[in-house]
Amino acid sequence: MKRVLFLFKQRPLALVGIVVILFWFFAALFGPSLLSFTYSALDTDYQMTRPGEGGHLLGTDALGRDILTRILHGSRSILTVALLTSLFSTLAGVIIGFSAGYFGGRVDAVFLRIMDILMAIPPLVLAMVILGILGDSTIVSLTIMVSIAYIPATARVARGAMLTCKNYEYVDAARIMGESNFSIMFVEILPNTIGSIIVEATARFAYSIMMVASLGFLGVGLQPPTPDWGMMVIENKSIMMNAPWAVLYPALAIASLVIAISLFSDFVSKVLIHDS
């Protein structure tokens, strides 16, 4: 605890990061109900109005929809997908990576080959192919898509963590005592590696936000009119000259969230892992 406070003082930016993340979580949970507009209401008297006019704090887009409401609403879907993705990909990665690292030998060799192959495709391409199979972009399909794209990365980290711990004495001791492999992996070793795993999970959280935003930018985000930050950037790019706020604020939202999570992830790694 003392260490945490000490590190905070050393890296005040981490605090900023945490505050921003908390802000977005609150915004996602409570934000939309605080505002008078809905995310799809068309206010044709106020199309492309600048921030401040007509009660629209961040202005409106080409259809007269309130930007602030859409950003707050959009935070829900992006946070949900990113959280679920980091959870699932970490979980799956731990199971796969731990098994590979623990059992070693051929299992490990096969695992490495498969992961190598999967990692050779840029994750965005892989996600597009998976989307092609799944059909529509919904919260569920996006989560599945991005999780699958990131499993090779988390599995690798989990494997690495397993390898460092595998040869400690307590493992041998547990084996002698007759503990099952499953129990050794997840009851004995996991708590000791939890540090790097959590760090990896937080890093995945940041990457997932970027990937979901990129998918939205490429036009395969959530169906309109559900707000999707990435799609807000691309659909308002053509009115960038007339209404730059329609592009700027969603872009800033994305950036702020990713930076905040990265700062947080950085900080967590300093806390939980004892070497820089």
Binding site: I133, S214, M240, V258
Partner: protein, 321 residues
């Protein structure tokens, strides 16, 4: 001797990877709904016409037969014809896009590698000081921006406000890319912004590690000038992890720049892959993905080779890191 053996082993793995990848992609496209025949004929077509077209495209044959047909063609060096654009040779479309992607990748490399290494070294050497904090924050911030965010900001700044650079990467007819290198600047810059964070941070931390190692300390104690120590001794070792990162991202650099290409309208491999996936044009998808995989596998190989050369300890131990 064992070095040569390692090389051959790696080559073997490379080939296996490529073959496995081709099979995987073929399989994935199989299970995607909709096929290229339907793309060509559309919705209002009769089932008979669809069947006839599929027959003529060879789509009615079983999975393994189609795959084998494509694979043997590949071994002969024939990438085949696009299914969607009948009669168009894939090699014609592919290599031109590949060429463009390669140029963009090289431009990006030329921008970001020296820049990131330089600032990474600077931050590492002045660790804890103001310049370090500034560089580190900058690195973190840019790393966090998805390509399209930094791309949009760049467009706004350079094309809209300053009107200095073109918004779109279109090569005028009759001219080649060499007369139009300005279209590369903004896309390469976007890529640089993304990579700068990664590479400079890695360079910085490895620099810190190396600078605190014993033999560097010894060199300093010997009274050698600091700059000499940094450039002649520390840098070589500190570069190793950085090279690994650069190598690991080559695959992305050469074929994964879909977002940048979409944003700037750059005619490269990424957008070709996207189009191919959308139209379920199996031979074209295969060609694109295989090429990307090939780059990735080759660059990983070269990176490992370089790493081994620069770090003699790895070369002879034969242990997998």
């Amino acid at each position: 001797m064992s070095f040569l053996r390692k090389v051959l082993q790696r080559l073997g793995f490379m080939i296996i990877t490529l073959v496995a990848m081709s099979l995987l992609i073929f399989f994935l496209v199989e299970i995607m709904p909709g096929d290229v025949a339907q793309m060509v004929l559309g919705q209002s077509v009769t089932p008979e016409a669809l069947k006839a077209l599929r027959e003529s495209m060879g789509l009615n044959d079983p999975f393994y037969l189609r795959y084998l047909r494509w694979f043997t063609g590949l071994l002969r060096g024939d990438l085949g014809e696009s299914l969607y654009m009948r009669g168009v040779q894939i090699s014609m479309i592919l290599w031109r896009k590949v060429f463009h992607s390669v140029i963009l990748a090289l431009a990006a490399l030329l921008f970001y590698v020296p820049l990131s290494i330089f600032f990474g070294v600077l931050a590492g050497v002045r660790s804890g000081k103001l310049s370090d904090s500034v560089i580190s924050f900058f690195g973190l911030a840019t790393m966090a921006l998805p390509e399209f965010v930094s791309g949009v900001l760049l467009i706004t700044l350079f094309s809209v406000v300053l009107k200095a650079l073109p918004i779109t990467s279109v090569i005028p007819i009759g001219e080649s890319i060499w007369g139009n290198l300005d279209i590369l600047i903004l896309p390469a810059f976007s890529v640089t912004i993304v990579m700068f964070g990664y590479v400079s941070r890695m360079q910085r931390s490895s620099m810190i590690q190396v600078m605190s190692s014993d033999y560097i300390r010894a060199a300093e104690l010997k009274g050698l000038p600091r700059a000499y120590v940094i450039f002649r001794h520390a840098l070589k070792n500190a570069l190793l992890p950085t090279i690994t990162i650069i190598g690991m991202n080559m695959g992305w650099l050469f074929g994964g720049l879909i977002v940048v290409e979409t944003l700037f309208g750059y005619p490269g491999l990424g957008s070709l892959t996207m189009t191919a996936i959308k139209t379920r044009d199996v031979p074209l998808i295969e060609a694109c993905v295989l090429f990307i995989t090939f780059i990735f596998v080759v660059s990983t190989f070269i990176t490992d080779l370089l790493y081994g050369l620069l770090n003699p300890r790895i070369r002879f131990s034969g242990a997998e890191q």
